[in-house]
């Protein structure tokens, strides 16, 4: 079973040279730590920054420079600042190539639910609905099962949706999966030591297994 860091590390392998990327809060944020340094990529923060740098030194902290998670950050040479309408123009216009975000549920059609649990206090969708409705490539980072053991990969989502037919790939603590055009989770890779049987038993939606399923590699 992968740690959060390992999920992030595996997702980092999906990143391509010259991509503009939006990373959600949680595991997706960790992906930044594992992007190979020979790849030139730019991270977008939807509150209005292209080119997110590392966290500042104590002496550099600037309240006028935060990311979408409201954390203090820095800029990089070549960064640009813009307003919120421009930021979502970039996102909706398809200029951001890759969105990586967390989820509470994903359906075998690629629907995603990640913003609201009935009965719990609703904090809001923030930019998630715009991101999932617009990005060309969407990767979900999440645990395969909820804390009480229920599969988060479902035939249809039970929670209120964030977007429909948008997720392309899912990386969990157990597996890498892709959404089939006709619906279903195509099992692509197993976490080290995890059997296909275990993944099968923990995937409530239709699981598609074509031939031998390789283990993930982390070199």
């Amino acid at each position: 079973m992968l740690t959060k860091e390992q999920i992030a590390k595996r997702i980092a392998q999906e990143v391509e040279h010259r991509q503009y990327i939006n990373l959600g809060i949680g595991i997706p944020t960790l992906v930044a730590n594992y992007i190979p340094t020979h790849l030139d990529v730019v991270l977008q923060s939807e509150n209005g920054l292209l080119g997110i740098g590392p966290f500042p030194k104590e002496s550099e902290v600037d309240p006028d420079l935060i990311n979408a998670g409201k954390q203090t950050i820095t800029m990089l040479p070549g960064s640009a600042i813009f307003d919120s309408a421009q930021s979502f123009a970039m996102i909706r216009g398809g200029h951001v190539h890759l969105t990586i975000l967390g989820a509470m549920e994903v359906s075998e059609q690629g629907d995603i639910a990640n913003w609201k649990v009935p009965g719990k206090m609703v904090k809001g969708m923030g930019g998630a609905m715009d991101l999932v409705a617009s990005a060309k490539h969407i990767i979900v980072a999440m645990q395969h099962c909820s804390k009480d053991g229920h599969s988060k990969l479902l035939p249809t989502c039970t929670l209120p949706l964030t977007g429909i037919r948008c997720v392309k790939k899912i990386v969990t603590d157990l597996a890498v999966l892709e959404i089939a055009p006709e619906g279903g989770f195509i099992l692509k890779e197993r976490a080290p030591g995890i059997t296909v049987e275990e993944i099968k038993s923990k995937t409530a939606g239709k699981l598609i297994i074509n031939g031998e399923i390789p283990e993930m590699s982390f070199d």
């Binding site: 509150n47 966290f55 500042p56 309408a85 930021s87 909706r92 715009d130």
Partner: protein
């Protein structure tokens, strides 16, 4: 050039009445109009509808309005960083309309730009789509969203001139420039107010035409929500 200067925050907000709709700039606590917030707290206006991406924290920003029960309705994309908000929401004292952040931004921009409605893909197939027109363009589904305007827009800039031209700093820019366009009356508070002609005309973020009142604020606290540092 038209001089938009007013004396201070109290004068700037003096005609904001009970029941007014206010747009308030900021993302989290960054770039919020701190001086106008203080002036409105002192004035004690009620039943406000507030358009703001977030709702502050318990003891800062819009959270202070909630403490004083000044807010009837919030229109936001992400709220609930504060307990009083949750209490008022669950008790039914407070109404909340949640919108996708990009839809919120674009509705505000449309309000300022004389565009009464537009189509966006955000929210298709979700509860955000309920009651909205869905339409297909080039094989993809979109929702029709309407423009948002406000009686007053309260924005915070880094520098401004007496003609109302504004320059923002860092990600404190966020919703401020678009809200400045969508207020029937836009009030800008700035860290530094300079004479018209002191700013480079090429580097103005908000042209003065959108700003009706401007003043130099003071005692900016600029509270940080998540102080993350590299050691």
């Amino acid at each position: 050039m038209i001089n938009k200067t007013v004396e201070n925050a109290a004068e700037a907000v003096k005609d904001i009445q009970d029941g007014a709709t206010l747009m308030m700039g900021g993302f989290g606590l960054s770039g919020i109009p701190e001086n106008c917030i203080t002036a409105l707290l002192q004035k004690g206006v009620r039943d406000l509808t507030i358009v703001s991406n977030n709702a502050g924290v318990d003891d800062f920003g819009i959270g202070l309005f909630l403490q004083k029960r000044m807010v009837k309705k919030m229109i936001s994309s992400y709220v609930g960083e504060n307990d009083e908000f949750e209490r008022q929401l669950l008790s039914g004292e407070l109404e909340v309309e949640l919108l996708p952040q990009g839809t919120l931004a674009e509705r505000i921009r449309a309000g300022g730009a004389g565009i009464p409605a537009f189509f966006t893909p955000a929210g298709v197939g979700t509860e955000v789509a309920v009651g909205k027109e869905v339409r297909e363009f080039n094989g993809k589904l979109y929702l029709m969203e309407l423009a948002l305007e406000a009686d007053f827009a309260l924005v915070k800039a880094w520098k401004g001139d007496t003609a109302g031209n504004l320059i923002f700093k860092g990600t404190a820019r966020n919703f401020n420039p678009i809200m400045a366009t969508a207020g029937k009356i836009t009030i800008a508070e700035v860290e530094e107010l300079v004479p018209a002609g002191s700013l480079d005309p090429n580097q103005i973020h908000t042209p003065g035409i959108y700003v009706q009142r401007i003043f130099q604020g003071n005692n900016y606290e600029k509270r940080i929500e998540q102080r993350t540092v590299t050691r």
